[in-house]
Assembly symmetry: C2
Homo-oligomer: 191 residues x 2
DNA sequence: TTATTTTTATTGAACGGTCAATTAATAAAA
DNA sequence: TTTTATTAATTGACCGTTCAATAAAAATAA
């Protein structure tokens, strides 16, 4: 029963944070959405804090799993870079309104040591995923700069799309810009 | 007395949000920092919400004023673009830890109509500031793309620096990357 | 000038509401 | 029966707001 309930509560948390924001998300708003009582959260996660952390961890592993799935049957470095962009933007469609949830969590990570650790993992993972592919296309020094710039461009386009409450079409357009930017980096630095 | 008190309370709010986060910032934490009683906030701002909004408005106008001051005695389009980057990164040094305050506010803007309006103003202002200078250096269509990409790159580098709790040197390095990126755009698209 | 009233600025206690967490009770399963 | 899963009521802390009381300043009258 435990793994089922845990998953249900995590998904209820995602819904609640997307809808109300992390600030207004309470033990009650979550348990109500999950159709359970409020006490169950302390029982399975030790408290609200534990559930929030588990939810972020779940988002993180979803992102990672999504990329691994796309690249499962091998692909070129260029192709893999495009997959990385897609994975980072895809969190949108996967679960409706998950985007603003990420933003809530990251903002909160400034004042929460545990969340900050998870944020660090996420930021570094994007960078090293990019670096791995760039290194197959250019010299190491240039690959590092390309990876840093690409990571910033992806996050920046994503952030601006989220904050302006962009629709699906605008998200696709941002995703396209990110891809074209990476291709221009390859053209510029590639051997 | 009113304008003095308002300013004092806004600055106490900035401190509190930087220190505790918007989530944990209360009427008490603010009024304590300002050395006043809690009732004064409702008296001058109608309530907590009003003070928060006034604080964001203050940050926004600070950013704008900073750019106007830098470009007061005229400069080349390239120079102006560099000033835009500097203004957007300078909010850091101006007031210690104001960066995470911005992040808190923007995250909250997803669930607050008034803040979202202010966020929109801010995003559009950066874009049109950039567009104005790019248009003097390249064709309109390319200028628009350059402005959109630059805005995303600035915000992305800034976001990653804030989230990773970068020190001053790392912020400077991010600022440099942004400037070099804009110069590469000019080289790529410039007439 | 001094005495008085009026206005302005500020306080802090009280209120109603909500929060996360706990706990005793209950229901179901083993 | 014992264990496991879940509920619902309760607790104590803290939230933002309100408001009667007060202190200080300014205006007016003597």
């Amino acid at each position: 029963m435990e793994p089922v309930r845990r998953q249900q509560l995590i998904e209820a948390t995602l819904q609640s944070v997307a809808e109300l924001g992390l600030q207004a998300t309470t033990i009650n708003s979550i348990s109500k959405k999950a159709g359970m009582s409020s006490g169950i959260i302390s029982h399975y996660f030790g408290g609200k804090q534990g559930l929030i952390e588990a939810t972020v961890r779940y988002l993180l592993s979803s992102l990672q799993r999504s990329l691994l799935h796309k690249t499962a049957q091998g692909c070129s470095p260029e192709q893999r870079l495009m997959f990385i962009v897609e994975a980072n933007f895809a969190v949108v469609q996967q679960q409706r309104d998950t985007t603003r949830t990420w933003l809530s969590f990251w903002a909160h990570s400034m004042h929460d040591a545990q969340l900050h650790r998870l944020q660090r993992v996420n930021a570094r993972r994007l960078y090293s995923n990019l670096l791995y592919s760039f290194k197959q296309l250019m010299a190491p020094g240039e690959a590092r700069e390309a990876a840093e710039l690409s990571a910033a461009m992806i996050d920046g386009l994503w952030l601006r799309a989220v904050l302006s409450k962009a629709d699906d079409a605008q998200f696709d357009s941002a995703q396209d810009l990110a891809k074209r930017y990476i291709q221009s980096l390859i053209q510029q630095f590639g051997v």
